[in-house]
């Protein structure tokens, strides 16, 4: 079909999203999109989520950290923000979500708000709570592997063994 003249095309806003989870969890683009749509539908209802759109345009994930760009209709960014805040688990992995910024183009959102940092994490032995543990360290924070789960910590909490 012939595409719409410019003044009739929807105006989009692009939300730059930062994702975080525990180091051994993986999040795929499809499951992120699915959970995002569910979150939108549960909070905003069908009409609200239709208005918000919430399509995932870009997605990167590695080593427990991720970034995404989500498309939202202009004027619906606040409901979209609320829906994003309600994402708490993706495929059983607890996730931290944060909107880093909003732009009018994908490119501006990427350049201004997403770093696509080289995620140089390393596994080290640390002493946490008087016991020697393995921790995944990056950027002055670390996730310490306990018996069953992880504990989120920073450089102030452990000593390198």
């Amino acid at each position: 079909m012939k595409h719409l003249p410019k003044h009739l095309r929807p105006r989009w806003r692009y939300l730059a999203i930062e994702l975080e989870t525990w180091p051994d969890e993986r999040i795929g683009r499809r499951s992120f999109q699915r959970e995002l749509w569910y979150a939108g539908q549960n909070l905003l209802g069908d009409p609200g989520s239709a208005d918000a759109d919430l399509t995932v345009m870009r997605f990167w994930f590695a080593d427990g950290r991720g970034e995404a760009i989500v498309r939202v209709r202009r004027g619906e960014t606040e409901p979209a923000r609320a829906a994003l805040a309600c994402l708490d688990e993706i495929d059983g992995a607890p996730v931290g979500v944060r909107v880093r910024g909003i732009s009018g183009t994908i490119r501006a959102a990427e350049e201004n708000y997403l770093r696509r940092r080289g995620q140089d994490s390393e596994e080290r032995n640390v002493v946490f709570g008087n016991e020697e543990r393995v921790a995944v360290l990056r950027d002055r924070v670390g996730d310490v592997r306990l018996d069953e789960a992880f504990a989120g910590a920073t450089d102030l909490d452990y000593d390198l063994a």
Binding site: L44, A82, V99, A151, L156
Partner: protein
């Protein structure tokens, strides 16, 4: 704006990690509200200096009988800046709102707890803040979430009517559960609050901490009586 957090061992992340995350997200401070049976071990000064965020020492007293709760309030009142009571049963809700020494009644609507006009009036009289706990709206789903939203609405209507003091928190137990103030305001707007209401409730923790620190400080003797500067004899 302040967030009130459950840190390791009550939650999954340490105070330092929660404070760093909260600082990144734009909060001005965190209140450590570990339950009285899972206290955290941390150095607030060091965290404050490292991440540039205020760390308020607090406690959430969790017990089911009034007698031990009353003892705990007395014990913690002198050492902790903010004393909260773990609500959610009618007995503890009633206990907390009738104690002027209690700062915050946490999640009064959780579990089978309920609030009515009598309790809210008592809370106004004793200056006990009622907490709006957004964790259910953020992390539950289905019918349970509907019930949580209903109870938030009920609490909001009564609090609005009596102009009762309140606080707002998302009760994160790990750094992954922290949500930025803007996100919480957007969520609040979706579930029937105003942005100002949420902002005010988040800021109230800070005002409470400031007031209590002032009361604990050495210059304060009793309400209306303070040690001031006096003229030196020449």
């Amino acid at each position: 704006m302040y967030e009130a957090v459950h840190a390791h061992p009550d939650g999954q992340s340490t105070v330092a990690r929660l404070a760093k995350t909260a600082a990144d997200y734009g909060f001005e401070g965190v209140v450590v509200r570990n339950h009285s049976d899972a206290r955290a071990d941390y150095d607030p000064e060091r965290i404050r200096d490292e991440y540039g965020i205020d760390v308020v020492e607090g406690v959430e007293i969790r017990t089911d009988d009034r007698q031990s709760a009353s003892g705990a309030v007395g014990n913690y009142r002198t050492t902790e800046t903010i004393v909260a009571v773990h609500g959610g049963t009618n007995a503890m809700n009633r206990f907390a709102v009738e104690q002027a020494k209690v700062d915050v009644l946490a999640h009064p609507m959780a579990g089978d707890g309920d609030i009515n006009h009598v309790l809210v009036k008592a809370a106004v009289e004793n200056g006990v803040r009622l907490e709006f706990d957004l964790s259910g709206a953020l992390r539950q789903s289905g019918g349970r979430r509907v019930r949580t939203l209903q109870s938030l609405r009920k609490l909001r209507e009564i609090v609005d009517h009596y102009d009762a003091p309140y606080v707002v928190s998302a009760e994160p137990t790990s750094h992954l559960e922290v949500r930025a103030p803007r996100e919480l305001k957007a969520l609040g707007e979706e579930i029937g609050f105003t942005r100002e209401f949420i902002e005010d409730g988040l800021a109230e923790w800070g005002r409470l901490a400031e007031r209590n620190r002032h009361i604990h400080s050495e210059s304060f003797i009793e309400p209306g009586v303070e040690r001031g500067r006096y003229e030196e004899e020449s």
